[in-house]
Symmetry: C2
Subunit: 318 residues, 2 copies
């Protein structure tokens, strides 16, 4: 990860000063770097690099940086699209540098990610990562189209979170098998692991946004609520609600008419309808599928670790 972080910092550089400035802001904001970690771990699981001495300069390090660039670019654009002023409790880039800079530096990072892929030189890797980039954009557009719409189906919701989150998780894992030159079955097993992990991850994220006890941990609650985002906790609470509850949900989510006490009321309805448990049960199912996808690989420390990541993704919400 240190080598990957160095690659990230080095390749965010540009003679145009604002680009490294904004990049430094993003790096300072931290973040879990979960996606590049998946690329590194998937490569290791597949026995890459064969010579551990090549670890720091090998292909998976640059591809992990590439995956993080795609993710960071989408974060920058998301914050513009959502008009968010906070990210992980810190001022978001658009709040500090403005929407314009966030759009343009996001574009720069996208372009840089494609340069990193080109330098890697593998057409299958490029096909997977450029397809994932297109799928992310489609997912984000679909999410925008479903915003404020309580008639959104479960299927449509799953399509949104597949696009906006699971597609890049899958691609991040899958390229690990490709650099290791492993058979297609292992490549697709890692794709399935990443897809299911990403679905679980986003479901948990959507649950935590309505988990009142998270506030005790200093986390923000209610961002999705304020934006009128359609997530499973809301769909489940709406589905199980009384007619009076539904009138409430339509006002706050569909008509975006919200008063200060509405979030508390929403949290109450979500608790009363078991909507968080329903969401986390779906997340558990996906996490179990992610673990099952790893069974094609021989037992190893890395396989155990990736399995633990899937388990932890869900347990962090309990």
């Amino acid at each position: 990860m240190q080598a990957c972080n160095r690659a990230i910092v080095a390749r965010m550089d540009s003679p145009v000063a604002l680009i490294p400035q904004l990049a430094a802001h993003l790096i300072a904001a931290g973040g879990k770097r979960l996606r590049p970690l998946l690329t590194l771990a998937a490569a290791h699981l597949c026995g890459y690099p064969a010579n551990p001495a090549e670890e720091l300069a090998a292909r998976h390090v640059n591809l992990a940086a590439c995956v993080e660039f795609i993710h960071t670019a989408t974060l920058l654009h998301d914050d513009v699209v959502d008009e968010s002023h906070l990210r992980r409790g810190l001022a978001s880039a658009n709040a500090v540098f403005g929407n314009k800079a966030s759009v343009l530096v996001g574009d720069f990072l996208f372009a840089r990610s494609f340069q990193l892929m080109t330098e890697d030189g593998s057409l299958p890797v490029m096909a997977i990562l450029s397809q994932a980039s297109a799928t992310i954009a489609e997912g984000e557009v679909l999410q925008m189209a479903t915003q404020n719409d309580l008639s959104t189906s479960m299927e449509r919701y799953l399509q949104v979170i597949h696009g906006k989150t699971a597609a890049l998780f899958a691609a991040a894992c899958r390229v690990g098998a490709i650099v290791a030159d492993r058979p297609r079955a292992e490549e697709m097993a890692l794709d399935a692991y990443g897809t299911n992990l990403g679905m679980a991850f986003q479901l948990v994220d959507d649950a935590l946004d309505y988990a009142a006890d998270q506030r005790l941990l200093g986390k923000t609650v209610g961002d999705d609520f304020r934006e009128g985002k359609i997530t499973l906790p809301v769909l489940a609470a709406y589905d199980a609600g009384t007619e009076e509850d539904r009138v409430f949900w339509r006002r706050v989510i569909e008509e975006s008419v919200q008063e200060p006490a509405d979030l508390e009321h929403a949290l109450g309805l979500i608790a009363a309808t078991d909507a968080i448990s329903i969401t986390l049960r779906h997340a558990s199912d996906y996490a179990a599928r992610a673990q099952a996808a790893l069974s094609i690989f021989a037992e190893s420390e890395m396989r155990g670790l990736l399995g633990d990541v899937a388990a932890y993704t869900v347990s962090r919400a309990r």
Copy 2:
């Protein structure tokens, strides 16, 4: 061009309905399709495709579409960044579909352009087009950093227009030599042609934004003025102005304090200081360099045509 237009329409498709809808809006808005035309013409100049029967299905058609996707993505993001509500006299995509959709569909088109490159499968082509994409973003960020700043140097201004315009012109032309598998000298000659043509094109564009007589042709004048963009007409008029003129320029450009009559006054100062002629003289120089760069190629109808494009780029302003 018809084959290229078909490729553009086909590859803008997506199961997410808003994407083809917004794409249709962009296609209806027309546009000159100058950049893909350059790719097609450069390939022809280099004798590609060798078999004319392969014309419609050959690589240059898809790469031309790819170039147009990169351009369209930057236009979508530009209009968000500039808060423009008109493009070529029609409502811009952000005005009709909102900023969010423009950001996300722009991202989709970027990703699609990289998918088109990947399908083409040439690493040199990918390196050139992904480098151009990064340079465009750098140019746009630099333009943002120079906005409202009358102390911007000529060198810095040229760097901005190189990034935002000439880099993609150069790449569009250069890939024509690569698909034709021509020697590096021809590749670099087409790069030089495209770079100089792009510089001339942007200088003329910047001149036309202050060319009062363009209004007779129904063109918009003063967009750059209202946005406080730093372009050569303004820099030249500021440079040659009296102290009173400079007070005026600082108010309208640096402080963005503009009154209804200010555009007329600015046009008067630009006329009085010959700023348009200065700008067009620079454009002529670049156009002449573009034409000179073609001399490495044997005389042909296509060489004559590309030379005429350079000449017309400047003559359209006279």
